[in-house]
Subunit: 456 residues, 2 copies
Amino acid sequence: MNQKEIPYKIYLEESEMPKSWYNVRADMKEKPEPLLNPGTHKPVTLAELSGIFCEELAKQELNDTDVYIEIPEEIRKFYKMYRPSPLVRAYCLEEKLQTPAKIYYKFEGNNTSGSHKLNSAIAQAYYAKQQGLKGVTTETGAGQWGTALSMACSYFDLDCKVYMVKVSYEQKPFRREVMRTYGASVTPSPSDTTDVGRQILKEHPGTTGSLGCAISEAVEAAVSTEGYRYVLGSVLNQVLLHQSVIGLETKAALDKYGIEPDVIIGCAGGGSNLGGLISPFMGEKLRGEKDYQFIAVEPASCPSLTRGKFAYDFCDTGRVCPLAKMYTLGSGFIPSANHAGGLRYHGMSGVLSKLYDDGLMEARSVEQTAVFEAATQFARVEGILPAPESSHAIRVAIDEALKCKETGEEKTIVFGLTGTGYFDMVAYEKFNNGEMSDYIPTDEDLQPGFDSLPKM
Amino acid sequence: MNQKEIPYKIYLEESEMPKSWYNVRADMKEKPEPLLNPGTHKPVTLAELSGIFCEELAKQELNDTDVYIEIPEEIRKFYKMYRPSPLVRAYCLEEKLQTPAKIYYKFEGNNTSGSHKLNSAIAQAYYAKQQGLKGVTTETGAGQWGTALSMACSYFDLDCKVYMVKVSYEQKPFRREVMRTYGASVTPSPSDTTDVGRQILKEHPGTTGSLGCAISEAVEAAVSTEGYRYVLGSVLNQVLLHQSVIGLETKAALDKYGIEPDVIIGCAGGGSNLGGLISPFMGEKLRGEKDYQFIAVEPASCPSLTRGKFAYDFCDTGRVCPLAKMYTLGSGFIPSANHAGGLRYHGMSGVLSKLYDDGLMEARSVEQTAVFEAATQFARVEGILPAPESSHAIRVAIDEALKCKETGEEKTIVFGLTGTGYFDMVAYEKFNNGEMSDYIPTDEDLQPGFDSLPKM
């Protein structure tokens, strides 16, 4: 088909939406290392995992053999409320950049959670409901995941307890109110509702909290309450599996118009969006059918792939979760206080870590003022005010398009626009006022994190 | 076609998008009364209007003969960035209500302005650019219109000066930051940058501002600055014309599936969304081709249609704008401070006022706690957190669907979901905390507004 006929937004028909998730691990010849029990350092069993996660999700977590896993009818029904998401041809951005590159972005922000997180939230809530649970617990930082989960739980009439990093709870009352509107209870973390919370408050009375700490509280709340399980919005294999719906839709939309991408770009915090976006394309690469350039983009102030270590590490501060082999800055790492762009997690999905270590994917780190410059430029020509997280991918997409302008290459660039920035205006205000600065940690700054790596 | 095949979201193809706006006045046998010069009380001329508005927009304002007006190519290009908007079948809401009614909503919130306002903003910015102007001025209350206009001006590289009602400027810093991100300058109103602002500040030093006052300031700023014109986001004929894109898309989507609506519902502040949504259907009714029930929904605390007078009135506090014959509470009317749901304007589009007066449309007023109850119910089952304004329409759509449940009628209900409530969480918080109260003004409460009606 002639490229001129490509519309601004490619929407799949409902009948073209994926009926199964794609499990990239099944196509990996070398599998990611297993999760380890934090006490015994032996691979966790299904029984152990099922104490923390819903049983079906624990199975998905350990399943590295089934290529496709069917999406239950009830989840597909929910997906139809806000999916398929559009694959947008960035005609206006291309024109502004005067680039011969063709730029597409998969936009996941057209739902009230404001991001792709809903894709996994609804799956996790569904399996919790199926298992007859009363509710789930989770942590949230900026609030995207907590919002997505509260929406999903409200739909299935499940109780939802969110531990929200205290500094966000106080600075983002609107996110908190969205969660409450969906019926969730939101507790600032650390709190006195858990042992680990009380312990942290005792040791650090003035702390404003961290994601790792909120995870520990949420896990404790789940395992100590009858009928509850813990759910997590990124990093995990099951999350990447659910998020494969992004990549599957993207691939179907591209295939529909005969478009072959050259470069696929995604921001990377824990890896949920990037993993979901690239997985079906990575599958083709792993099977030797096609080749693509994949680029993970992370903040220079939280550079787990580009400057971290590939090692077994704790996923949480309280060290109650299984150990994962991943690129990590150490569970003791905390990004600089001036960092405003999200993607603050110390580690990275084990699947992505393995693919990166095997040379199948690249990674780049970018500084935040350059990220907000790209965000503003994008907002003005494409009409969507992007989330700071997503803007990491925009930055590199623009950089790649500008390279094409120099070389004259007509590359096709696809990136993931994970969400909108409507609840991030404090960061935009800082940028608009010229008060945003960059910060690249020194090797010494990173050392305290590495010191927290488990001795094993 | 079998109704069972109707997807959750009906998207038109780009090729099916409207190429012309529909001008309902051309089909009205009895035309709305003309705008009057506030000094002479004679119908305003094109020359007079062109001193305030761009010339092409002044022409559109006075044009009650052309049925269709072509949408310029550049505007259609911009529309493609965020349109067509989906017509959503509210399957989940229907199931929740257990109603035999079929409910559809046209969702205009999937763009960064968060509402339908962008449809007219981009048109007004385009004509300003065409005329070689440097920039435009406007007022904004909650900030939806100001945001839409700042996006449109940024796209055409026009200067954008927004006078924002002071209380909103202070309480909604995030809306302000979105406008600044799009390059607009935002001034709290009343301000000392205009004569009328200084006058109001002198007379009412502690005032938190009003929409009528911000309009006066924006008009003064436009007419006193070389190369600037004033633009307005509602009430005007030109705005209803541009917003007809909502109704045209809705009708095309319904026609595509052979769906015949019985009831069409929209919230009504100044009338921009309601007028745009119903106009092509009203055209059929006016031409005697079909019949529909139209319902305008307004807040009980600002009941211009249900309790106002059909009279010539000022559109602004400073009385610099032309007089319009409309349903009005008087330009001196200010809604109760406890009102949190938007739709605060004292008057109503002249076109809609005339249609209502001629018995072609109904109107209902609803109280705000009932509105937020409907908003929350809708958010939980349909996955979209609606704007308080839009939720007025949701309230009546739910009421109508529940009536169908009683009577067993399988009515097809269509309503306009004008936008999202992401910047309205202060109001939701009030509701979530059980701190929201209702207020129905007494006839005496309304009297000061009526006292401000012009003597003529």
